[in-house]
Amino acid sequence: MANLETTADISLPQLSLYRRGTNVLVTLMAASAVILVLLPLGAVFGYLIYKGIGSINLAFLTQTPKPVGEAGGGMANAIAGSALILLIASCIGVPVGIGGGIYLAEYGRNRFGNLIRFTADVLNGVPSIIVGIVAYGLVVLTQGHFSALAGGVALAIMMVPTITRATEEMLLLVPNTVREAALGLGVSRWRTTLSITLRTATSGIITGVMLAFARAAGETAPLLFTAFGNQYWNWNTSQPTAALPLQIFTYAISPFDEWHRQAWAGALILIVLIVLAVSAVRVAASRGMLKGAN
């Protein structure tokens, strides 16, 4: 009993004003941090819409740039060029990325797999401008001139690690029992992987691919000295090609008001495409990566 009484004597101080005050203050600070971060987001989107929407018209979407001083013209060739470069990048980057992801998920539970995993994360952090230098050395120097192919290779290098890691993550979500069921039916391993495991993880993998694609679509730095840009239409993969982000960059740092307006319009189109891709992915993701999986 004596003991109990002594503990009662050490009456703990009431929750002091100081402690409560700090709690409220910190909560307020965290909330204002959120506002401070959302502010630029709102500002960027607000300005994009405010400045961009007025300049988007049929000419902008169907014409090539006019010479300096002439009004009108558009970025149709840059949009097409971006599509061409992204198509090349996807053709190279998506299969390689998914293949690498399959390797990591199905055969990569070992030292060597860890090495690849780590390297992929490292590659993910390589500045995009460096990737540009490599694509320049690899394609531009070999071909002798800037080209859509070089731009595509650069963007493919950016896409591979993202897709690899996303694919691995999604395949690992597929319960092992599903693999066993197929193997138990005497289905060969490669068919099990392609027709069962990969198919079960499809929606998740598409998410990863879309994210990588959206990221590549906005990349500018690696295109500066690979795709290089072009004032005219180009469908030839071995010729310099315009790209939407490149065109936005060129116009933004130019001294002409007309070009500034077009830069905003181009940026609005670019961001709308990217946000659409990302939100589609979000919706798909919230519906469940593995539809129907246990």
């Binding site: 987001l41 994009l48 090495l115 540009g132 490669w190």
Partner: protein, 344 residues
């Protein structure tokens, strides 16, 4: 149906098997039913195909190193270590020193971190620990949307919105009240190191906050309950129960943000002023390693010039790789082998 091996369904209870009707399922029947192809060969082929894809990742990093090292050797032989400690960048006389770029890169990145870290951690704390449940997902989504905006759009916005704002309001105010520090001196152009730091900060906040959120959610719920049960306020719980446990991971997120800031190119190039100078004032224009490559690479005439630019790239590559490795390891220690994605 004569040779259908399973025979008629005999559902209502066991019946004597009529041997004449149930034919044996021997290879004779399974043969035509399923061609037993050379699946072992196909398996090998498939294995090697996807192994090749995995090796591609290794090969890419190898290729990057090879390209950078071979193409920069000319400059390395000409200048050696001096390259990084000399500040004259003079293509006309073929003299190259990368110090201003190194300086600009470091200062702009540190400035970005100073601005971004408190904000990012604040956002993460708010989203994971304080925000009402219904607000969590939309908030997380919107902050991640910041990471999806392309660099060139940030640059565009910075040129036409941020820079005028800095020039007209922020910089004169800073000069008046903090000019004594020497950091805010000179004419307020708007364009310069400060603008670069701010735009970088906006760009790295989502990276740091998403990793911070990830490591904070990895802290077991019992840790929180243990602290709360001692009568702690929510902030005390966050500080001792969550932030302390997630320290290493948050540090990893910060370093990952640093890696991104160091290598960020377009937005910085568009607002930093692109002048190879070393100035104390943050109002002054500067130049970063990434932006000098962006601006001069396609115009570089002369082998030594190109080689010097590639050497800048090599240095940038090595630094970002080291920074990223450190970050990965730190994040891994907290989330235990579920590595965080750099731009999730």
């Amino acid at each position: 149906m004569g040779n259908y091996a399973l025979g008629a369904p005999r559902l209502p209870g066991p019946q004597p098997v009529d041997k004449s009707k149930v034919t044996d399922i021997s290879r004779a029947q399974t043969g035509p039913l399923i061609q037993s192809g050379s699946s072992r060969l196909a398996d090998r082929a498939f294995y090697f195909a996807i192994l090749a894809c995995g090796l591609c990742v290794l090969a890419l990093v190898g290729l990057i190193i090879f390209e950078l090292v071979t193409k920069s050797s000319l400059s390395w032989h000409a200048f050696g270590w001096k390259f990084f400690f000399q500040s004259d960048w003079d293509p006309v006389n073929d003299q190259y020193g990368a110090l201003p770029f190194v300086y600009g890169t470091i200062v702009s990145s540190i400035l970005a971190l100073v601005l971004a870290v408190p904000l990012a951690v604040g956002v993460a704390v708010f989203i994971t620990e304080m925000s009402p449940r219904w607000l969590r997902v939309p908030l997380a989504f919107t902050t991640e949307l910041l990471a999806a905006i392309p660099s060139v759009i940030y640059g565009l916005w910075a040129i036409f919105v941020l820079v005028p704002l800095l020039r007209e309001y922020v910089e004169p105010w800073l000069a008046r009240y903090f000019g004594w520090s020497g950091l805010f001196e000179g004419a307020p152009y708007g364009i310069g190191m400060l603008a670069a730091g701010i735009i970088l900060a906006i760009m790295v906040v989502p990276i740091i906050s998403s990793i911070t959120r990830e490591v904070m959610t990895a802290v077991p719920q019992q840790q929180r309950e243990a602290v709360l049960a001692l009568g702690a306020t929510r902030w005390e719980m966050i500080r001792t129960g969550v932030l302390r446990n997630a320290r290493a991971g948050i540090m990893g997120g910060v370093i990952l943000g640093l890696g991104r800031a160091l290598g960020e190119t377009m937005a910085v190039t568009m607002v930093i002023g692109n002048r190879p100078e070393i100035a104390r004032s943050l109002f002054a224009p500067g130049y970063t390693m990434a932006s000098v490559i962006a601006n001069e690479f396609s115009e570089a005439t002369g082998d030594l010039y190109l080689s010097a630019l590639v050497e800048v790239g090599l240095a940038l590559f090595i630094v970002t790789i080291l920074v990223n490795m450190a970050a990965q390891l730190l994040v891994w220690t907290v989330t235990r082998g579920t590595p965080a994605r750099a731009n999730g």
